[in-house]
Amino acid sequence: MDWQDEGIVLSARRHGERDALLSLFTYEHGRHLGLVRGGAGRRARPLLQRGNRLSCRWRARLSEHLGSYMIEPLRLFAATVLDDALLLASLDSACGLLDAGLGERDPHPALYAPLLTLFEKLAARAEDWPQSYVRFELLLLAELGFGLDLERCAVTGGREDLAYVSPRTGRAVSRAAAGEWAPRLLPLPAFLLGGEKASEGEIAQGLRLAGHFIRRHILAPTERPLPAARERFADLWQQRMEEKGKA
């Protein structure tokens, strides 16, 4: 077995003294593990940082074997965000979610380009990177079969004034239909309905919305919590918002 692809580093663990066990989110082969010989060494370590884009060649005698990777750098995203706590936390969080949420060797090419776009935005410190981050989490849900229905109101069928999402069904609810149930529904931030700009509060709402369904549909069935990196990103976002509020 031998194939060539490219991928994003999701995690790398030391394996013995010299090697590393690499989890790579590849374009054509999904989340795929492999051994990197010399991966614990000084040369390979900078490449094996979470979020880096690598060109890879995987080889094994049989397809069910762990196999080994030969890697080359394509774009070292991790280095571009190391100095910013929030950008670093979001890169770490996206990789943590993919590592925890995707099945092994289950291809999801539709997620690959949006992930690259998100990382390019992080590297460029683009103003709308938080919106892209939240959209990426919703795309991950949709890709795994749990997409939210934000097109029309689950109660009236109308497209007007959608303001909430049912935490049970993942369908949008209009402000009028929500009525006294509103406190029990999840707020739907306007930027997810096609708006371009988003306030910090709306991003926090988006993180809460996506986090709820990731927990419920992807992680709860296997009794796993949200990845620590995702929790940290949401906490950090909330903290920055509160600091700005005080100032």
């Binding site: 979470r50 750098p73 070292l76 280095a79 190391l82 890169l91 620590a228 940290r232």
Partner: protein, 198 residues
């Protein structure tokens, strides 16, 4: 077929980092050939370290004294603390001989994969030390890795309310390094950390 004692020695040596069964066998044979010169002094040194070396209760360094030699040195600036991941990083800083403050050894970095959180790293101990010892500046000497810098940002957040200056080591072109041979990540960090000449 080696004697059981030799077998045991080889097995124990092979558990050390950097040594496999073959190299452990070579080391054991070298010691057995020159017991007076290699084996007895090594055994004595091992026993001495096992009985006398421990963690410094202030900084986490390994030493025969507690507080360690660095923490007890009155000539060092107690208001300047450099936070490092492991004892070998402290040794590296000491080799450079350019730092005259004190240290704090975390014993690792925050890592979701390895399930290492703030409690496992004794971050509370560092915060208490900074508050009690009137520390003026904390230098974060952590690795330029995702986990190292995540830990650095976390520490900076926790230290800021204490009113202490938090700095980190510079990142960029190494001494003797040529741009042509640097990876793009290091170049990117170097560009971001550029400063006026002169």
């Amino acid at each position: 077929m080696a004697a059981a004692e030799i077998d045991r020695l080889i097995r124990l040596l092979a558990r050390l980092p950097g040594l496999g069964p073959r190299s452990a066998q070579r080391a054991a044979l070298a010691m057995l050939r020159r017991p007076e010169v290699l084996m007895t002094p090594l055994a004595q040194a091992l026993l001495e370290c096992a009985s006398r070396i421990g963690r410094c209760r202030v900084c986490g360094n390994l030493d025969s004294r507690d507080p360690c030699t660095i923490c007890s040195d009155e000539g060092r600036d107690a208001a300047l603390v450099c936070v490092v991941e492991e004892v070998e990083d402290l040794w590296a800083m000491e080799r450079a001989s350019s730092f005259r403050g004190r240290y704090h050894v975390l014993g690792g970095t925050l890592s979701a994969l390895e399930e290492v959180g703030p409690d496992e790293l004794g971050i509370g101990r560092l915060l208490a030390r900074v508050a009690e010892d009137a520390v003026r500046e904390v230098i974060l000497g952590l690795g330029a890795t995702v986990e190292g810098q995540t830990t650095a940002h976390y520490l900076a957040e926790r230290l800021r309310p204490l009113g202490v200056t938090v700095t980190r080591l510079g990142q960029g072109v190494p001494i003797g390094g040529e741009l042509n041979y640097l990876d793009e990540g290091t170049l990117d960090a170097a560009l971001r950390a550029r400063r006026p000449v002169g």
